[in-house]
């Protein structure tokens, strides 16, 4: 008797069923993320109450009630304060930011010459953006232009004194110009110096190692304010009369060396995380020291410490505000300096200026942070789960 072949072989894939209704849509998202447990629910309620308390006031202060245009303090003061706004008015004084915007960006850089920092900024962005986007070709040429040619062009344009450009002394620089120049130079100088110091600290040559350790530990042991203060107040006393050494340059060197010491320790952390086998593998291939470091160790080590490096960059970007201690005015310094203008003295002036400065700082720091996350993901070839 022939048996019927009852076996069934499915030839096509079963269509995936959509998730149950309770796991889909807004309701499920809320259940999962906002009210999953009693604790979550309480936190959600507290959060909503806080947002409901702050947000309407913030929006009405920053946008609805804000004064956008005006020429002096009367536009941002209430009648009782000697202005034109109704009593009880509270709004941001963007008119102040508007009137002082040029100063916030360039400090006291002569108004007729401000096209020069603007041109530098355009060149900077035009070269930086293709460098940051991985798909754009000709990275080598781009990098040479960015790190080799741009600093020279920027120096000529900003300082002037040649090619018929009037000389603009650095005490006139200020605002975002100073913040960005200090941090760009600091970043560009501190990374290579930091790498060299980190390698030096792990070197087997005793003198090199000792010098690197002394430098790193000394600089890390002194607050940045002290470095800047010494450079600004003590240094002139030891120089012969009439010799003045540009204060901006002093700050630039101070900030760069300071950041380099921190960078060295970040990079050293990366170097230590590379297994010994990698070093030995490179040695067994017959690679020299620089080949071993450049081709095998550093590419892996630097990738590991991207968060640490960017952390140092962001920290340095914000530390540039400390130069106001030596009467140089970065963005925050210029904003605060302008609070002393009696033509704009109102209760809203300081708040508006500080919110503006905070926003600008946040934009740059957030940008750096996001780009570092993108780079980490792109370079993340190993340890993938």
């Amino acid at each position: 008797m022939q048996e019927h072949d009852l076996s069934f072989v499915r030839v096509e894939m079963a269509l995936a069923q959509s998730a149950p209704a309770s796991e889909r849509g807004l309701g499920a998202w809320i259940r999962k993320n906002l009210i999953a447990s009693t604790g979550d629910t309480i936190l959600t309620i507290i959060g909503i109450v806080l947002v409901a308390m702050i947000l309407p006031q913030l929006i009405s202060w920053a946008l609805i009630n804000a004064q956008w245009t005006g020429t002096d303090r009367t536009f941002c003061a209430t009648v009782a304060q000697g202005g034109i706004q109704p009593d009880g008015w509270s709004g941001a004084c963007w008119a102040f930011v508007n009137a002082k915007f040029g100063q916030f960006m360039f400090g006291r850089y002569p108004i007729d010459e401000r096209w020069r920092p603007i041109l530098v900024a355009i060149l900077f962005v035009a070269l930086l953006v293709p460098l940051l986007i991985p798909k754009v070709p000709r990275k080598g040429l781009n990098a040479i232009l960015f790190f080799g040619a741009l600093p020279i062009v920027a120096f000529i344009l900003l300082v002037g004194g040649v090619f018929g450009l009037p000389h603009v002394e650095t005490p006139l620089w200020g605002g975002l110009l100073v913040t960005l120049t200090l941090s760009f130079v600091g970043i560009a100088v501190s990374l290579p110096i930091g790498i060299v110091l980190a390698l030096g600290r792990r070197s087997k040559m005793p003198i090199v190692k000792m010098l690197c350790v002394i430098f790193i530990e000394t600089v890390r042991g002194i607050p940045l304010i002290t470095v800047l203060f010494m450079a600004s107040v003590m240094l002139p006393l030891f120089l012969p009369a009439g010799v003045t050494f540009d204060k901006f340059l002093r700050a630039l060197i101070g900030v760069s060396l300071f950041a380099a010491a921190y960078m060295a320790e970040v990079v050293r952390g990366g170097l230590q995380a590379i297994p010994k086998g990698q070093y030995e593998g490179a040695d067994s291939l017959g690679l020299g020291y620089w080949q071993k470091m450049g081709l095998i160790v550093l590419p892996q080590a630097l990738k590991l410490v991207i968060p640490g490096i960017v952390n140092t960059f962001i920290g340095m970007f914000k530390d540039t505000s400390l130069v106001s201690i030596i009467s140089m005015f970065d963005l925050l310094g210029v904003v605060k300096q302008n609070f002393s203008d009696a033509n704009w003295a109102t209760p809203q002036t300081a708040r508006s200026g500080l919110v503006f400065a905070a926003f600008v700082f946040w934009m740059f720091c957030f940008g750096m942070s996001r780009y570092s996350m993108f780079t980490e993901r792109r370079l993340d070839t190993s340890y993938k789960r």
Binding site: G102, E169, P171, V233, S327, Q337, A342
Partner: protein, 342 residues
């Protein structure tokens, strides 16, 4: 005038360097073509940047007056903003030619620090501002017994306050903050009834309060803070130029010479005016000083006379609205007095 400890440190540091700068400041200034002037990092009415970033205020205008005397052009001046800590080093090391930065004239600064103060462009002193709503009927500092007083810590202001209340046998509760902004915020929020700092500063602070009309600056001044420009010791010619620029500003006001009428005044028959404006034949007043004979004309054309400078920057022409008070001319009951220009 604030941080005492840093002042001592600065004095010690300056002691190491005797007289660093070369003698002939006038020649140096003429050679470089401008005057380098040290100002504050921002004090309303004295030196603060305007919308274009130009320095405005009494201290800044004084530097323009010196530039006008030397070059006949009040714009030939470059400003260096200096913090309180840096100001004396900057003058001593030759980085600046004139320090015009709301600096109090004291004997220590004239002797140990090696400065020469040229005069007093603004008689300031520590004053009190009260919240009239909380302290109704108070119109003298002697009625402040038991009040909560907001004051910045680590300043001479704090010490003067304690002295004043002790010597008048009054009680008070100090509410002390490290930063000026914190003091302002605390006072505006009503944490204290009284705010004390230099009187010129009180007017600026009043503008940033929520209800300025409720706050009254009391008439008492409990300390002497004579503010004036200073130069380096060891260069008498430069010292005289800066000093007589100050006196010329006063003399111009006394004689009624203003920015508007200075050209007319040149034709005046009044011998005193003729002497001051250098229109007397064979006058050597200006050249003996080391400048041109029409130096006072240039000064007044650049910044006006002292009264105009005062009213424009801190007085009725400014938002600060400070009364002349003891800064009026001696002929009007104030202390501003110029020796004769002859």
């Amino acid at each position: 005038m604030k941080h005492i400890a840093i002042g001592i440190l600065g004095a010690a540091a300056l002691g190491l360097v005797a007289s660093a700068a070369s003698a002939a400041t006038l020649d140096d200034v003429k050679a470089k073509g401008f005057i380098q002037c040290g100002v504050s990092t921002g004090l309303a009415g004295f030196s603060a940047p305007d919308d274009k970033g130009d320095w405005q205020g009494i201290d800044a205008d004084f530097c323009r007056a010196v530039a006008a005397a030397v070059f006949g052009d009040g714009t030939k001046v470059k400003f260096t903003p200096l913090s309180a800590k840096e100001r004396f080093t900057a003058l001593q090391s030759g980085e600046i030619d004139v320090l015009s930065r709301n600096t109090t004239w004291t004997i220590n600064r004239d002797t140990a620090l090696g400065l020469n103060f040229v005069g007093i462009t603004y008689y300031d002193g520590q004053g009190f501002m009260i919240n009239a709503k909380k302290l109704p009927g108070v119109n003298s500092a002697l009625q402040l017994s038991g009040a909560a007083v907001c004051v910045q810590s680590g300043t001479t202001t704090e010490l003067n306050l304690a002295d004043y209340f002790k010597s008048n046998k009054m009680e008070y509760n100090p509410v002390v903050f490290e930063k000026l902004e914190e003091v302002n915020a605390a006072y505006d929020a009503g944490r204290c009834d009284v705010y004390t700092t230099d009187q010129s500063g009180l007017y600026g602070i009043r503008l940033t309060l929520g209800a300025p009309a409720d706050h009254v600056v009391l008439p008492e001044i409990i300390s002497k803070e004579p503010l004036g420009p200073a130069v380096r010791q060891g260069d008498d010619q430069w010292y005289h130029i800066v000093k007589w620029t100050y006196f010329a500003l006063l003399q111009a006001e006394e004689l009624g010479i203003t920015k508007a009428n200075v050209d007319e005044m040149k034709n005046s028959d009044n011998p005193e005016i003729k002497r001051v404006l250098g229109t007397e034949p064979d006058t050597k007043i200006g050249t003996d000083l080391g400048v041109s004979n029409d130096w006072v004309v240039n000064i007044v054309k650049a910044v006006g006379n002292y009264g105009e400078m005062f009213e424009r920057n801190v007085g009725s022409g400014s938002p600060l609205k400070i009364a002349r008070g003891i800064n009026a001319l001696w002929t009007k009951g104030g202390l501003q007095y110029s020796p004769p220009i002859r």
